[in-house]
Symmetry: C2
Subunit: 343 residues, 2 copies
DNA sequence: GTGAAAGCGCTAACAA
DNA sequence: TTGTTAGCGCTTTCAC
């Protein structure tokens, strides 16, 4: 059923029907009701392509997810974030166009989207410390919001981010307070800004407590189980080994635990593991109380917030720039478990 | 730059330019080259909305992901699958429209997509044992392929699936061969067909080896860390406790390991864990050799295969129905690690 | 081999 | 308050 059929069936012009359905004030209440009824009954939905063509709005938001080609992993956080954003789009009649971008094609992909008029704006995922995409998007005039921040912010841009630096400072401080000084950081790829900020937070805490930052206790790569396993394995073989790990994702933590098991060490006795990522905060001292706190919802909320920010931006470009820094819920700091023995 | 501008710039009609660009044979080679050059130079891309309106094809595929509202988790496997599908779409000029669907709205969402002409077909994710969506899609005439299968297949449908039943039978058999008989299965929500099939595979192996299936050793729920933890914790408290776990996802396995640690038990000595999901296969006997095998690529391949199947279906509905059963790569069966001690 | 013109389904000036 | 008309940018029939 299209507009023409609906209007013929009602004996009205397409214009009137369109107006009645789109809430224009100049339609009489009686016809509006009649139209709405018939539309609902006939399960009428405006053809999205025709509507877009007529209005010049694609009514779709692009999410471009960079694909690390080394291990071909898509960040699992992403799904949760998108679920939040998706909800906002639905409420506003937008669709979500998902693109997986190999990093080498990235520029072409954005240019393509803009030229095809396929999206009204984009969400930039996984920003690097140095991020050429921002200048590109500005150049082609495509509205965008960055999920995360960049470190080379010469130009203003819209962003929303969790406070990675503070969260990791907090996590590190927690371990220090428990008596640890040999703490290993198994971090994500530090050319990505979120990992870089986490590292800074880690270093903040170490420095403020007068502890030496041991570069051999810091690793940075794509967050896979294997990476966690191999890194922890080699660290645990050292004469001077870490007494605690901070893992930048639970996938990595899974690998760390495997290595700890193989080394014949015990959680809470010889070692502690702290995991932190956007999705969940987790503290394991081998111990007595349930020290696990899921904060998935915060990722979803971030998705919702980011999406709303973009839609506002599209409606009113004058609002530029906007930003929001979310405090990560590192509730793990409230843990009351026993302190693990020192090395 | 649009078609009109491009054609004016070239002194040709829109028709000729369009034909030249779309590979129609009746264009002279010289003008074709001239047109292609100018198009490339002007970075011309046909407006996707206008093209869709003219051709009647949305040039987009819908992925509808059901959202479990209990714990609000999106299956992380999904990202990897979509990455594969996305690649196929790009090759064929399609876009990917992502929808997160709360289960109660589901029917409306599909009807909406079809009526709006926003997609040419859909991929059905996370099918249940009994799946009303298939009849619905058939009714509204929207081409689809199911990632997975259903158990109530009265009607023929297109699907692609990994052999969950066989994989879990194999995993169980591996533990049995190592001397285990008290094996716990921590499974996904068994109203979802993948989990149901995994359970059947587990039971197959137990039955064929003459082992009793202990219902208290089988749990089924959404695959979260907490679920794994709580279930394992309560099982390990029993006088007669399991000597091995099969976890239906690595997230669950993370919880199981936490419980094992808290119970003061040791991997490889007291217990084994096998993890299997589409993304990775994993065997941990606490042990000597690296018994971890990532098979992420298989999920991605499944995504690619599913996408191609759908595009073929759209081009030629006569091919219906098609299907493909992928053998899971449970390479863990090759493990040579020492057998854990019996209970 | 090329072009004119109609039409895809909708919105939005402009008239009435 | 309603209708007429002209697009939006493309494809496609039909004529040359």
């Amino acid at each position: 059923m299209n507009l023409k059929q609906l209007s013929e069936q009602l004996g009205l012009s397409q214009t009137t029907v369109s107006r009645a359905l789109n809430g224009y004030p100049e339609v009489s209440e009686s016809t509006r009701i009649r139209v709405q009824l018939a539309a609902a009954q006939g399960n009428y939905r405006p053809n999205s392509r025709a509507m877009s063509l007529a209005t010049g709005r694609a009514m779709s938001i692009g999410h471009v997810v960079p694909l690390a080609h080394q291990h071909d992993v898509v960040n699992p956080i992403f799904a949760e974030f998108v679920a939040g954003a998706s909800q906002i789009y639905k409420q506003n009649g937008y669709e979500l166009t998902l693109t997986i971008a190999e990093t080498r094609n990235e520029e072409a992909i954005y240019r393509n989207m803009a030229a095809k008029c396929a999206v009204d704006g984009v969400i930039v995922h996984s920003p690097k410390r140095v991020e050429p995409r921002l200048a590109l998007l500005k150049e082609i005039g495509l509205p965008y919001v960055v999920h995360g921040r960049v470190s080379d912010s010469k130009t203003a841009y819209n962003w929303i981010d969790t406070n990675n630096r503070r969260a990791f400072k907090q996590a590190t401080q927690l371990l220090i307070d428990l008596g640890h000084s040999d703490i290993a950081l198994i971090n994500g790829d530090e050319s990505l800004n979120f990992a870089w900020l986490r590292r800074l937070g880690f270093e903040d805490a170490m420095r403020e407590n007068g502890l030496a930052i041991n570069p051999t206790f810091m690793a940075s790569a794509e967050l896979t189980e294997t990476f966690g396993y191999l890194t922890a394995e080699s660290l645990l073989k050292k004469a001077h080994r870490p007494s605690a790990f901070i893992a930048s994702s639970y996938v990595v933590a899974l690998g760390i635990r495997r290595a700890i098991g193989r080394a014949g060490l015990q959680m809470g006795k010889d070692l502690s593991v702290i995991i932190h990522d956007d999705e969940l905060s987790y503290f394991d001292n081998g111990g007595a109380v349930p020290q696990f706190t899921a904060t998935r919802s915060s990722v979803r909320e971030a998705g919702m917030l980011t999406a709303s920010m973009l839609l506002k931006q599209i409606d009113d470009p004058g609002l530029f720039p906007q930003s929001s820094l979310l405090e990560s819920r590192l509730t793990v700091g409230l843990s009351t478990g026993p302190a693990p023995a020192r090395n």
